[in-house]
């Protein structure tokens, strides 16, 4: 096996890339020589095994709003440096960043056939969307886990770069990629199946060799016959709240939702409504919250008879690193109230 230093290119978002926060989330891709931000720790963890030769940075909003073009530009920048392995992130529970890292991984593996290592929290939407295309190390849900995530990532980089045998997800600490691998086993299948069954009957622990995929899909409800005859409600994960955020909904990892009366409100203005969301640049929503929650046009449509009625209350939470369990819990409670209030259809807006 060769012991040359592996060439690694690192993909980061605008925040970890040191360009700026949400106000810079719309910057297009750019590149730097050598390491930036968490690349320092990656370099240290790689030691003599590898070198971070370049870093490519792109704003999260820019990437997600232009996935195809952004992937293309990023791949061009990355391929120039002839990497042996590409590292994207880690993105922890940052949704847009996770999607960007995953899309980069997909483009790299489709077009360049180079292995990609990333790190994400299991609930990051990037995991489900792109798990096939990268070795995604399971991380905690925030950057506090960086110190643990980087050495794990570095370990996989070296293995992949050196072409060493990759173990199972459980052995190596990455998330399942849905890849099946043929192996020779000492015992034949029928015996292993019966062994498993015996263990199951005895209430003992056993590990399946073929985990069933979990599909949680809900069948679409029948269409509404005529929106001009029904009551419609607005729900948003974009954090639109009355001025001063009376319920103090958290800017990330929300633990609650709010229910707000908009009877008589024709327009959301900068001194009546704002956003509590900490995961996007709030400037535009704070100036005019109708840009996230379209009360103004729905009110007009109600007056013109185009919709039957705009429900008196709207519901809002902040979908920013909020756990799936919490979001499901909020929505269940909200839906029950809406049904009880005679609402017949919902418009849900997300940022």
């Amino acid at each position: 096996m060769s012991d040359k230093k592996l060439r690694v290119v690192h993909y980061l978002n605008q925040f970890y890339g040191g360009i700026g926060g949400e106000d810079k989330a719309d910057v297009p891709p750019s590149e730097r020589e050598g390491v930036v931000g968490p690349g320092m720790a990656l370099k240290a963890a790689l030691g003599n095994n590898g070198e971070v030769v370049a870093t490519v940075i792109c704003g999260d909003s820019y990437f997600n709003e232009n996935i195809d073009e952004a992937s293309k530009a990023v791949i061009e920048m990355i391929s120039k440096h002839n990497p042996d392995v590409v590292v994207a992130g880690p993105a922890f529970n940052a949704g847009r960043y996770g999607v960007a890292c995953g899309a980069v991984a997909k483009a790299i593996s489709d077009e360049l056939g180079i292995p990609v290592v990333s790190g994400m929290y299991p609930e990051n939407p990037g995991v489900d969307m792109y798990r096939k295309f990268a070795y995604v190390v399971e991380t905690g849900n925030s950057a506090a886990d960086m110190r643990k995530a980087i050495p794990q990532i570095a370990k996989l980089v070296v293995k992949l770069g050196r072409g060493e045998e990759m173990g199972t997800p459980a052995e190596e600490g990455y998330m399942e990629r849905g890849v099946r691998k043929n192996v020779f086993h000492d015992e034949r299948g029928s015996k292993r199946a019966v062994d498993m069954l015996v263990k199951k009957l005895a209430g003992e622990q056993f590990t399946t060799e073929y985990p069933m995929p979990v599909f949680d899909r809900v069948t679409p409800n029948p269409a509404v016959a005529d929106v001009s005859k029904i009551k419609i409600a607005l729900v948003t994960s974009g954090g639109i709240v009355p001025d001063k955020n009376p319920d103090r909904i958290e800017s990330s990892s929300a633990s609650k939702y709010g229910k707000y009366d908009i009877s008589g409100v024709n327009d959301l203005t900068d001194d009546t409504f704002e956003t509590a969301h900490g995961g996007y640049d709030p400037v535009y929503a704070n100036l005019d919250a109708d840009r996230v929650l379209p009360v103004d046009v729905l009110r007009e449509m109600e007056q013109q008879g185009k919709i039957g009625e705009l429900h008196r209350y709207y519901y809002a939470t902040v979908g920013n690193g909020t756990s799936v369990a919490n979001a499901a819990k909020f929505a269940k409670a909200i839906a029950a109230e809406l049904v009880a209030d005679g609402v017949q259809a919902v418009i849900l807006t997300s940022t």
Partner: protein
Amino acid sequence: MVKEIERAGLPVVHMCTVVPISLTVGANRIVPTVAIPHPLGNPAMSPADEKELRRKLVTKALRALETEIHEQTVFDK
């Protein structure tokens, strides 16, 4: 959230910018919007044009609610 609302029996249309995420979370009726920080607006436009843009998007959402579907559908026309 969309999924739980749909599960409760309410037809729901998801208006969002990152359609792949919406597909992953299991929304059935999806209307793509303008940009992450202003899905239903565009600060570069005049207020009148911006409102017209919003009216068009909301109209599209209402049409999506009136459309019978059998699988996840992106209303991008």
